[in-house]
Symmetry: C2
Subunit: 250 residues, 2 copies
């Protein structure tokens, strides 16, 4: 029995999310059905670092699975990619120790939120960036970012549907990258609550638009109330960029 | 009665091509049904510079239509974009004289053919670039481009299904743009036969791979036989970039 760690990219557009469900095409379901074929009909469960919602993308999602097949790591990638549809791409497969767990061994995760900030939409990017045609004060956004850093109770920045009891998380880094007509929020943290990155992105946009002051982030966090924060930015701008299993990101 | 000239971008992925047909979602059909709503149920025919196949994109397709509605050009764009799906975007609307015809007034057209030339595919670009993971000799491709320039009978570079009698066309420019892992063929000509850009792209790739010598383009053109040229490159790399109504491109 070997445990395999897999790094995967997917375009979330045509999936009803990562997690398998009775109805709808999912990333997990699609990968598991390919693994089942490779294992001669035997069901194989894959265990990911976390779910992503419908429409959310990944450039570096990680999952693991256990197998009796003896296949070199390289050959795993080729075999899987040959059988998977072209909106899922296996970037890397490596054998890991039995103690590795894609979710519990993760030290931090990095998400990117991508925006197209020009007036005109781009038909080719419509599923891969949030089109935001309003003027933004980028320096105010950058100032607001600083208030998220560190360890806080992020109740205000998590969906009311979140069922996790402990809402304390640590944000290690939150950067704003401006390139021509593109804006990207890069956020790395110990973990993220349900919708947390999308609510942070939506709140940062309200700061950029002048609807809120950068300092307001402090009072929003302190209030521990979802109603205090901004709107949840749409799913199609969000990317699970990387899952880190070392204290320092690779 | 006013004649309106419209410049439109569309993502060809989810269309069965530009031209309206009984079955399948088309660009023309989608736009005409929006115009019909604006004209209180009266059918409005739009006339484009030419068709594009299923999967082919446009950043600058042009069509015209006649209307009795009195609406400023700016308001036309807004109204149409508000009603159109987000894979079609109206870039510009202007009133033109009755003598203007999107097809017959065109002096030249420019197409781009986009390639991703790294080893790994990109799930996010899978419908918008042709992934070509094989090594390419770019200087050979550039040399081959020169042989296409000028006025030739392009029978060898047109689909056998082409029903046009006169296959003489003029290529004004054919450039190769290399940017990191992207390669773009930019071609401007008096007009193009069915599949012509895609067959030229496919043949240039065979030159780049060393399967053909650059000089071979001369004998392929001279032979006036589709079987002599390379494979037709896939639709999803092709963009109708611009239609020019002046002798010099705008």
């Amino acid at each position: 029995m070997a445990r395999m760690k897999v790094t995967v990219a997917y375009d979330g557009t045509d999936f009803a999310g990562y997690q398998i469900q009775p109805m709808g095409r999912t990333v997990q379901g699609t990968i598991q059905s390919v693994l089942q074929k490779m294992h001669k009909g035997e069901a194989v469960n894959i265990s990911a670092s976390g779910r992503t919602d419908a429409g959310v993308h990944a450039t570096g999602q990680v999952f693991h699975f256990d197998t009796d097949l003896i296949i070199p790591a390289d050959a795993w990638s080729k075999a899987l990619n040959a059988m998977l549809p072209d909106d899922i791409y296996i970037k890397d497969v490596e054998e890991v120790s039995e103690s590795f767990h894609s979710r519990f061994s993760a030290r931090s995760k990095e998400y990117h939120y991508k925006l197209l900030i020009r007036k005109e939409p781009d038909v080719f990017q419509r599923n891969h960036m949030f089109h935001y045609p309003y003027p933004l004060n980028i320096s105010h956004i950058k100032k607001a970012c600083g208030y998220f850093l560190g360890t806080h109770d992020f109740t205000s920045f998590s969906s009311a549907r979140s069922e996790v009891a402990d809402k304390v998380r640590t944000i290690f880094a939150l950067e704003v990258l401006e390139e021509e007509e593109f804006l990207t929020f890069k956020i790395r943290g110990s973990g993220f609550l349900y919708n947390m990155v999308r609510i942070i992105a939506g709140t940062l946009l309200e700061v950029g638009q002048g609807k809120r002051k950068p300092e307001e982030i402090l009072t929003i966090i302190a209030g521990q109330d979802r109603a205090l924060a901004g709107k949840t930015a749409p799913a199609h701008g969000l990317y699970l960029h990387q899952v880190n299993y070392q204290d320092k990101p690779e």
